[in-house]
């Protein structure tokens, strides 16, 4: 079994998904989804350990040797991303059990969990596959299931925002297919390793820059880099709470991983950065995302939406790190990938708890919540401190590496922008804190603390965001090694 672990990581959830659909009962479907999530967590951990121990795992699906068959290729970066996805899935699923029971009707719940499992499988598939067309397939599996889950939000605007997401997401995916097709026609292979070998031979051909451009646009659309982020705020705002928490911490992260995979492993750092001057595009966009979108977040009064905008800004940080094209920068990007998953997951989950109890996440409805829901709001403040980048939280570790990467390149201005961004995070987080702690609660409504089944997962992430902020040596080491493998692919 351990031999086939790479395949089982994806296949087990894919097999469990129809079972959940057929189960017909919310509780049973939830149980199956939990099993799927916990299984993938186990598999992802063992894969990461194995990669650390013995290097890259190559697995030929169905015994077909590459380039004829599809190959799963797991290096440190993929194992790390897979672990993030699986871990977030495992933490959010107990939370979803309670929150979905309230937000999604009983007859739809089994289908909801089916979509959940499929999305998990899709995201994990993207992380570990070594075949570019397979990337597209998994991308669409995860996206389509994400669309259907978002559409189950209570607000009717969930439908329109899903539609918007569907259109933009499909365009992004189609752009990626075009890019893949153009690469295939020039090289005759879909295998990432083969592509990396053959692309340099044909890179003077005009088709390759075109393929590169299509892929860049497609992936940046999927990862919601400014100005292609328009689908994200609405989708995150109106999706069911658990879905927002799960998606915010995983799906954009996987897209960032794709960006790394395509730019560094396949096209190579030299082509991406020296020939195509990718940094000239990514860096300004990332900086604008950090500044402009944080500003938008400050003026937002729906807290979920505010956090969604903050996510766009935080994606700016990850892309900024990548845009340096150095080991330090990519390390910063990968670290922030992990760290942001922890803190944004916790923040959205805290908001889900608020949603569960008061049915709204409008700022003015949250008056006095610091007293009424002390644990929920404490979790929000804890994760918020991390978002701001207070020392001994994961947010600080991210900023530490990011600014270090900027200063190592002599980019003092960029370092300044990063800091301004975290101060803007302070403003929007503190807006919530002031309302929750300085205003008196509405005496007409008796509000009680969220149920434990939601609080515990939230706090797991909050504690993790402090734990990995106090001892970041593990994440930093893995991220550095992953960055070195990514950049080392091309000498």
């Amino acid at each position: 079994m351990s031999q086939n672990l790479p395949a089982l990581l994806v296949v087990v959830p894919l097999l469990l998904a129809p079972l959940a659909a057929l189960s017909g009962r919310a509780k049973i479907a939830w149980g199956i989804a939990t099993a799927a999530c916990w299984w993938t967590l186990y598999a992802a951990i063992s894969l990461l350990l194995r990669v650390q121990e013995s290097g890259v795992i190559r697995y030929s699906l169905g015994g077909w040797e590459p380039p004829y068959g599809i190959e799963y290729r797991i290096d440190l970066a993929s194992a790390f991303v897979a672990l993030i996805v699986a871990a977030i899935g495992a933490v959010t699923i107990p939370y979803a059990g309670t929150s979905i029971a309230k937000e999604v009707s009983e007859d739809r719940a089994p289908l909801f969990y089916t979509a959940w499992i499929l999305m998990l499988a899709g995201l994990l598939g993207i992380a570990i596959t070594g075949d570019v067309f397979n990337v597209f397939v998994f991308l669409e599996i995860s996206s389509l299931s994400a669309y259907s889950m978002i559409a189950l939000g209570q607000d009717r605007r969930a439908l329109t925002s899903t539609f918007q997401y569907l259109i933009m997401g499909s365009v992004g995916a189609t752009f990626i297919v075009i890019g893949i097709g153009l690469m295939y026609v020039m090289t005759g292979t879909l295998n990432m390793v083969d592509l990396a070998e053959r692309l340099p031979m044909v890179e003077s051909n005009r088709t390759i820059p075109v393929a590169f451009t299509f892929l860049t646009v497609g992936i940046t659309l999927k990862l919601a880099l400014f100005p292609l982020h328009l689908w994200l705020p609405n989708a995150y705002t109106y999706a069911p709470s658990a879905v927002t928490a799960f998606m915010a911490s995983t799906s954009t992260k996987v897209s960032v991983y794709l960006l790394l995979r395509f730019f560094f492993t396949i096209f190579g750092e030299v082509f991406s950065f020296e020939q195509m001057r990718l940094n000239m595009v990514l860096m300004p966009l990332a900086l604008i995302a950090i500044l402009a979108i944080s500003l938008v977040a400050i003026y937002e009064v729906n807290v979920k939406r505010m956090l969604a905008f903050s996510s766009v800004a935080q994606i700016g940080y990850m892309v900024l790190g990548i845009s340096f094209g150095t080991v330090l920068g990519v390390t910063a990007g990968i670290i922030h990938l992990f760290n942001h998953a922890l803190m944004k997951g916790a923040l959205f989950m805290a908001m889900g708890c608020v949603m569960y109890r008061i049915g709204s996440v409008q700022l003015d409805k949250m008056a006095g919540l610091g007293k009424a829901m002390p644990w929920t709001m404490a979790a929000f403040v804890g994760a918020g401190l991390s978002l701001i980048g207070v020392p001994l939280t994961v947010g600080f570790v991210s900023k530490w590496y990011l600014v270090q990467a900027a200063l190592a390149e002599g980019q003092w201005f960029v370092a300044g922008v990063v800091m301004v961004g975290s101060l803007m995070a302070l403003i929007y987080i503190w807006k919530v804190v002031e309302v929750a702690y300085f205003q008196e609660p509405d005496p007409d409504h008796e509000i009680i603390e969220a149920p434990l089944s939601m609080l515990i997962p939230t706090w797991v992430l909050v504690i993790a965001s402090f734990w990995f902020g106090i001892d970041a040596t593990t994440t930093a080491t893995v991220a550095t090694q992953a960055a070195e493998t990514l950049l080392g692919a091309m000498p």
Partner: protein, 490 residues
């Protein structure tokens, strides 16, 4: 128990005290006793460490590695000892004072008050004992956040506004400037440890290093160098014990302490002398000294006047650091202690007046001296120390700072020091003089039923006022420690 763990215990004791406060929240007497016991124990521990440091030892405790190469670590050296002594001694004293004040003033949420108070002291001790810039920054920010609930203690609209200014300025400077400088130092020097002689010398052009120095000095917002001083007057909405200990001692001194520490152990005096911005920053500090005094002049609210006086006095220490010579550093370091004892006496007195007579405005305190002679007497002693007149400790630190300006051939700065003392003479001495010799205003209802503040508060005032005078006679403790900092024999 190894020496290292004594440090850990010292920083941990206030936290333990805070937990005890939380557990005893339903028994006010036991709760306050817990604070006092924790305070006494902390000071006793610091005193033990002092003995080691005086013998030339440098106890060290490595806690853990946060990111590769960057450790959370403590090391006790003389400069940190000065700060730790001041903070840990004044904590139990202030707690004693707070018992009288908080009860006399019928404050709410007293448990939260004592809890965060203790936590803040842990933060201050962490700053004092930090072995590298990272640890320093961690506790610096920790101190900012755990004093926020104290500043906004009353949870009013005004408290909220002040809290915004407080957090806004302190975090903007520390994250926007100081952290950039720290990471810059890490990139340039490859280490963040505090080392005698500095770590930055020769790592980059003097132009770049000058820039980093500016980032550091302005980045330490807690040193309240203008224009980043607004948070300090804003923090005065807090209950007086908070203003007294945190915004005259722990928090602001953490700021100037950081500046001194960076000047001595990151840049090193020799390097500082070669940087273009050093003397420029000295003049920026001089400007703050004068402007702070002038603003203090116009404030009728006693606490606001004291706050601006603090801003002015803090810049003495920044000035001392930027003189970049031994005498300046010694003077600056001594001023941390001298100003702390003097200013806390003033704040204690201001709080006592508020509790006993419910007066905040100086113009309404005329004649109060006759009913509260002890309080105003203490205020007088504290004022002398701040101005720098014998027989109060402040005269020694001002003496060394003055000598430092002469050593640096900066006669202009000497003139600034003189002028500021003259201004201080007016705006501080005015208060007790008018209280003793002026007739009370017509509509004032004092006289009937007003007596001195509650006894615990009076004891606290007595202790700090006595200490202020005692340090005039015996300043050796501080002087010896500071000589060790600049490399003299212990």
């Amino acid at each position: 128990m190894s020496e290292g763990w004594i440090i850990g215990l010292t920083v941990l004791l206030p936290v333990i005290g805070a937990m005890a406060v939380l557990l005893l929240r339903n028994a006010p007497n036991a709760r306050e006793a817990a604070t006092l016991v924790a305070g006494g124990a902390t000071f006793w521990n610091v005193w033990g460490l002092l003995r080691l440091v005086q013998d030339g030892a440098r106890p060290r405790l490595d806690l853990l590695e946060v990111v590769p190469g960057v450790h959370l670590a403590f090391e006790v050296e003389p400069l940190g000892m000065v700060f730790a002594l001041v903070a840990s001694f004044l904590w139990p004293v202030t707690s004693l004072y707070a018992i009288g004040y908080m009860r006399g003033h019928h404050e709410e949420n007293q448990t939260r008050f004592y809890f965060f108070f203790a936590i803040a002291i842990a933060g201050a001790l962490g700053v004092a004992f930090s072995a590298n810039l990272f640890t320093l920054f961690v506790f610096y920010e920790f101190l900012t956040f755990c004093t926020f609930p104290l500043v906004t203690h009353h949870q009013t609209e005004e408290a909220k506004r002040s809290g915004r200014i407080y957090l806004g300025i302190l975090l903007t400077t520390s994250v926007g400037l100081q952290l950039v400088a720290i990471i810059g130092t890490w990139v340039l020097a490859g280490t963040l440890d505090f080392r005698t002689g500095g770590i930055l010398a020769g790592t980059a052009s003097t132009g770049l290093l000058s820039g980093i120095l500016v980032l550091y000095v302005y980045g330490v917002g807690k040193a309240a160098l203008m224009p980043f001083h607004r948070w300090l007057p804003a923090a005065m909405v807090a209950p007086t014990p908070v203003s007294a200990l945190l915004h005259a001692v722990a928090v602001v001194k953490a700021g100037v302490f950081t500046v001194l520490k960076i000047a001595v152990y990151v840049f090193g005096i020799d390097l500082l002398q070669t940087l273009a911005t050093t003397s420029w920053l000295a003049w920026a500090a001089a400007a703050t000294i004068i402007l702070g005094s002038l603003v203090a002049f116009q404030k009728d609210n006693l606490k606001a006047r004291l706050a601006y006086s603090t801003i002015s006095q803090l810049s003495y220490i920044v000035l001392g650091a930027m003189l970049a010579n031994d005498l300046g550093i010694i003077g600056g370091g001594m001023h941390i202690a001298m100003h702390a004892f003097g200013k806390i006496t003033l704040f204690f007195a201001a709080g006592a007046i508020m509790v006993a007579a419910h007066e905040k405005k100086i113009s309404r305190m005329h004649g109060l001296g006759r009913t509260m002679p002890f309080t105003f007497g203490a205020f007088f002693v504290g004022s002398l120390s701040i101005i720098g007149l014998p027989p109060a400790g402040g005269s020694w630190s001002k003496w060394f700072l003055g000598m430092g300006t002469l050593e640096a051939d900066q006669y202009g700065l000497l003139a600034v020091l003189m002028l500021s003392s003259l201004l201080g003479l007016y705006y501080l001495i005015e208060v007790p003089v008018k209280a003793f010799f002026f007739a009370p205003p017509e509509d004032a209802h004092h006289g009937e039923g007003i007596k001195e503040a509650p006894l615990p508060s009076l004891i606290a005032i007595g202790i700090t006022a006595t200490a202020t005078v005692a340090f005039f006679v015996w300043p050796d403790l501080w002087y010896d420690l500071m000589t060790m900092v600049v490399g003299g024999a212990p």
